[in-house]
Symmetry: C2
Subunit: 209 residues, 2 copies
């Protein structure tokens, strides 16, 4: 899973001279304000261009879409659109999707630098309704919908992905941030082995008994 | 589980005249500062008395122990020492402990007033190392150790309780605070039915496959 450990920053933004950097920074600043004010769903590339005082075409020149702009605005270490397809490529079924997602999420939360922006998002979401709104639809559309593409379609698939993600992130939070014992000191392979049955259960759709 | 929905505040503190209230408030203020500075393990009834400038016997007069003082300092809506034995009384085995804990934790997080102080603790824990330290040993000693008393002893019991709690709290956070869909709008009974197998698995100690 080393592909996911240290993804590069700034995907979707072509490297350029300092003029380009200034323009990109201006757009990112406007985007941050728009996402905070409107939420992820409410913000638009056009509205962000207006707030930045630039032509919408320029926003599209620097950022391939709203998701890439959100990733830049929140300083996330990677764009899920770039990384998740690699993480999940060729997974042979729900069990393998489960195993890869557990290791991928742990790899993000294990490292203080990589988890910091995600922890920042989670803090925003727990501090205010607008913070929650900002995060809510991003994780649904950018993260969960992309995991769903690798699982058999089912009416309850969205709910099962929510529960699996809540479980993995809950464990990562208690292990790496709150550092509750004995969870914090348990070997990672043991923790992974113990959460795997529950996550496979959610991803495979084996319903409650 | 209605017993847990709206527990009374201020247990362990006898009602008294305004002089007593002032003294109690003084002690609680000192306790808050001591817990923030020393963490739950590092703070002591004696140190809190010293910080408040009162006799240790007076602290013991108002609060039956460090846990009751922490509950008052963090403005938690109840003392786990009072409530958990009632919630878990007579549970017929690990499955019933699992079922009761899920409903109990959901009942706390469902209501904005009841969850606010717990969300505050979680925010502290994610904002700083000292915040994490403050919460960490309280939840281990006041919450998890008390759940463990109702489950068959085993070397890995502590780890399994950590994982179960991380799962339930992760789901409560995503459902009631971040309000990710479809989890936020799913009927509570359906969500409970879906997380029950995983939590029963942790509490019963059915190891990973």
């Amino acid at each position: 899973m080393s592909v996911a450990d240290k993804p590069r920053r700034g995907r979707g933004r072509p490297s350029g001279g300092s003029g380009g950097e200034d323009t990109a920074a201006l757009i990112v600043g406007a985007a941050r304000a728009e996402f905070a004010a409107q939420g992820y769903d409410g913000a638009s590339m056009r509205g962000i261009a207006r707030a930045a005082g630039v032509d919408p075409a320029l926003v599209h020149h620097y950022f391939k879409g709203k998701e890439a702009l959100f990733v830049a605005a929140m300083q996330l270490p990677f764009n899920p659109a770039d990384v998740l397809p690699t993480v999940l490529a060729g997974a042979a079924g729900p069990d393998e999707v489960a195993d890869r997602m557990i290791r991928f999420i742990f790899s993000i939360w294990r490292d203080a630098d990589t988890r910091a922006p995600f922890l920042g998002l989670l803090r925003s979401a727990t501090n205010s309704e607008i913070g929650a709104e900002m995060m809510r639809s991003f994780i649904s559309t950018a993260l969960f919908a992309r995991v769903a593409e690798h699982l058999p379609p089912a009416p309850d698939l969205g709910l099962r992905i929510n529960l699996a993600a809540a479980h993995i992130v809950g464990v990562a939070l208690m292990r790496y941030v709150v550092r509750v014992e004995p969870l914090a000191s348990a070997p990672e392979d043991e923790v992974i082995a113990r959460v795997t049955p529950a996550i496979r259960g959610y991803f495979s759709g084996a319903g409650p008994g």
